[in-house]
Symmetry: C2
Subunit: 159 residues, 2 copies
């Protein structure tokens, strides 16, 4: 990760400006940059490790414990979802993630007494997205679904 | 734990017959008895490790990682709550427990889209109850509270 900037397509440049999720994720990751490693680097570079191409996926072993860096990225992903959710609804959304040794896990995100996201995490070893556009879509879609649940049960989300 | 039976007060004998939670907990613990260690032992003996007197509490260190046996007991406790809940409501209730290195943790139990139990676990190292009666009360109270939430939001609990 010696690069400071990356060449992005017009669509990719666009998604960094329009995706509420992607902006939150960049903030999340930069906030953990204790040593200033990412200063002066573009947002795309900061999120580079979230991108896993098909070719890379194939080469990733799925045995043994998932890499702590992967778990860290999954946590950042869902923290960003939670913070974007909070920004849009005013409700605090906390993720709870539990990942076992085999790369399977479970994720719950709740606001009040409502489960806004419930997911089985599979294939944790290979967590990643083919492109920035797909990363943004995945995050924004998750946020949208969570908001759908809050709109459906506003009293429980505030209980 | 070489004893086969324990002397119990009348109140204690009673609680083993009346507490839905305690009966479920005994089943939970016996179900894990792969080597038959608890065969022929009374229910009170099987649950003996859940009892921690005030004197014992004082002597328990609360530094370092909580003992795996303690975590195992916490899991049995909340699994028993979940199973008793299922028996009484017909709804599947799954606990999700996450315990950190410092003995703090979080527990969520959900049915459908409803959070029926949400707890911060403190002092995990010293998890235990002074008497069988208090153990039963704690479990049955937790079940009662969860049922209260289900009755309040039956549609969300079935979502």
């Amino acid at each position: 990760m010696s690069q400071d900037v990356m060449e992005l397509s017009a669509e990719e440049q666009d998604v960094f400006k329009t995706s509420a999720f992607l902006q939150e994720l960049v903030k999340q990751v930069r906030a953990q940059d204790t040593y200033g490693t990412w200063e002066g680097k573009s947002d795309a570079v900061v999120l580079a490790d979230f991108i896993v191409t098909k070719e890379q996926r194939k080469q990733m072993p799925i045995i043994g414990d998932p890499d702590p860096d992967v778990i860290w990225r999954i946590e950042r992903f869902y923290n960003a979802v939670g913070l974007a959710l909070e920004r849009q609804t005013g409700l605090i959304a906390g993720p709870m993630i539990k990942i076992g040794h085999e790369g399977f896990g479970r994720l719950l995100m709740t606001t009040g007494r409502l489960v806004v996201i419930s997911k089985t995490l599979r294939d944790v070893h290979r967590f990643g997205f083919e492109t920035y556009v797909k990363l943004a879509e995945a995050g924004d879609k998750t946020i949208g679904e969570a908001i759908g649940w809050i709109e459906k049960h506003p009293d429980v989300a505030r209980a």
